[in-house]
């Protein structure tokens, strides 16, 4: 499985366009949103909330797009015959999926880390005083989103379909989950619907750290962590089932 992950990392870092989309594009969005939301707030707290929202909302939304792309790469491998060749080799078929999930986690962790380091360096977001909580939150958000791409891929036949599905689903989840507009300014019905989106739990966890300043051991913060782990476990389980049912059907 390690060989599969290493191969995916090698492929990822040899693709300049992929690197730009995964790391540079979210940075551009964070910068844009931070300026737009920052201008509308005069108070210090308001500015902080704007910044935290920009970083949190953009990070989770862009992360979902990235993992959708990773799911799509499974379909590319199927279409190009790589999956067939992998299945002829002595590696257990499930390792192909686990390799993709581990790779998705690694890329997600790097992507989220870059977003927060950028926010720290450019906008002065105080990540250093909240490092343990932030690291825990980055890992759980990455885990929660990692299975999303494979689940999407298992319902699609081509990468183009994955792109189409992912755009619609990520935009809907981001809209109801608070990635675009902060959840606290939305109507009550929207706030209730938001709990069905992975974006909501990730963004609330980041609010807890930087805005509400909750400690790592706080039950509210930990509840968000557990929900994210639950979402990740459920998505990975569905990914495993669908991988066996649909993606491994190769002939």
């Amino acid at each position: 499985m390690i060989k599969l992950v290493k191969k995916d990392l090698k492929l990822f870092f040899s693709d300049r366009q992929g690197i730009m989309l995964t790391f540079a594009l979210p940075i551009i969005f964070i910068t844009l949103f931070a300026f737009i939301f920052g201008k509308t707030n005069n108070s210090e707290e308001g500015k902080l909330v704007s910044l935290v929202h920009s970083v949190a909302g953009t990070s989770v939304m862009m992360l979902l797009f990235s993992v959708a792309g990773i799911g799509g790469s499974l379909l590319d491998e199927k279409q190009d015959g790589m999956l067939k060749k992998l299945l002829c080799s002595p590696i257990p078929p499930n390792h192909i999926l686990f390799g993709k999930l581990v790779f998705a986690n690694i890329i997600s962790i790097i992507q989220l880390s870059i977003m927060f380091v950028y926010a720290w360096l450019v906008f002065g977001l105080d990540i250093m005083h909240h490092l343990p909580s932030l690291v825990l939150m980055i890992f759980t958000i990455a885990f929660a989103c990692s299975g999303f791409g494979v689940v999407l891929a298992s319902f699609a036949k081509t990468r183009q379909q994955v792109q189409g599905f992912s755009t619609i689903i990520v935009m809907i989840m981001s809209a109801i989950g608070g990635s675009m507009v902060p959840i606290f300014v939305m109507p009550e019905i929207m706030q209730k619907m938001a709990v069905f989106s992975v974006n909501y739990w990730g963004i609330q966890g980041i609010y807890d750290i930087f805005w509400k300043l909750l400690p790592l051991t706080d039950i509210t913060f930990l509840s968000r962590v557990f929900v994210l782990i639950g979402i990740g476990t459920l998505l990975n389980f569905i990914a495993l089932l669908m991988f066996k049912k649909n993606i491994l059907k190769i002939v």
């Binding site: 060989k3 090698k10 015959g81 299945l87 002829c88 080799s89 590696i91």
Partner: protein
Amino acid sequence: MINVSNLRKTFDTIEALKGISFNIPQGECYGLLGPNGAGKTTTISIMSTLIEPNEGKVSIAGYDLKKNPLECKKNIGVVTQEIALYNELPAYDNLLFWGGLYNVPKLELKARIDEIVNLLGLTDRKNDKVKTYSGGMKRRVNIASALLHRPKVLFMDEPTVGIDPQSRNLIFEVVEKLHKEGMTIVYTSHYMEEAERLCDRIGIIDNGEIIAQGTLDELRTSGSMKETVVISFTNLTDERYTAIVNDWNDLQRFDDAIHFYSMNIQGDLSKIILKCNEVGLDIIHIDIRKINLETIFLSLTGKQLRDK
């Protein structure tokens, strides 16, 4: 080395394999020949553990495919029809990856890669990304990736589709070398000249059934097919033709030429020429049409092997 017994496979309502059986001893190159949709790829896919048969048994290198798929996988190399390579990686990294999946120790793997890229004429380009390669070079790397773990059995599913003559010849040379070294090879193709050149025995598959198998000579004789010698003359008349017919029954006249049919054309050729001289015929052209796989296939199935 390979035993296939009563293999059946159905996809929805289509019966892709209708109970095929064959045995391949160690070191043999066995050709599986048939038109598109005959069942060649299904057979290879089952033997390489990609799909499960509905019925039947397969054993490879002494291991039952159903009971011990992992051991079977360790003993086989598969050259797929598709060029299954990562275009964004250099050929060397591709080979390192595919060889690594079989747990070949890294140092040994690197030595084997160097040896194989040299054999396939790719040493100068091994560090270039695969996307910069021609179709033929990609096919060669695709073959190399199946050989790194030194399998006992090699499945090659139409490995020369869409490539230039130079790459095709290189691939033939590699297959011949592997064959000489004692590797068991199953080679599917719908190019008869490939099977004729490379394979010890040939199985002809059509509509999911093996309709004939054996060496090329066995296939020639089993069909009771006759070779043809076509002789053209400058002075063929009805009287001279009648004189020939009196001595030779199996023949046909086409304008200024006579087609002589025989089970042993080499033995009969001198007799035919002698008879032609006796009746005063002046020969201007002789064309010997031997039995090849194309004619065997045509006589067995009533159709061409390749769409024309």
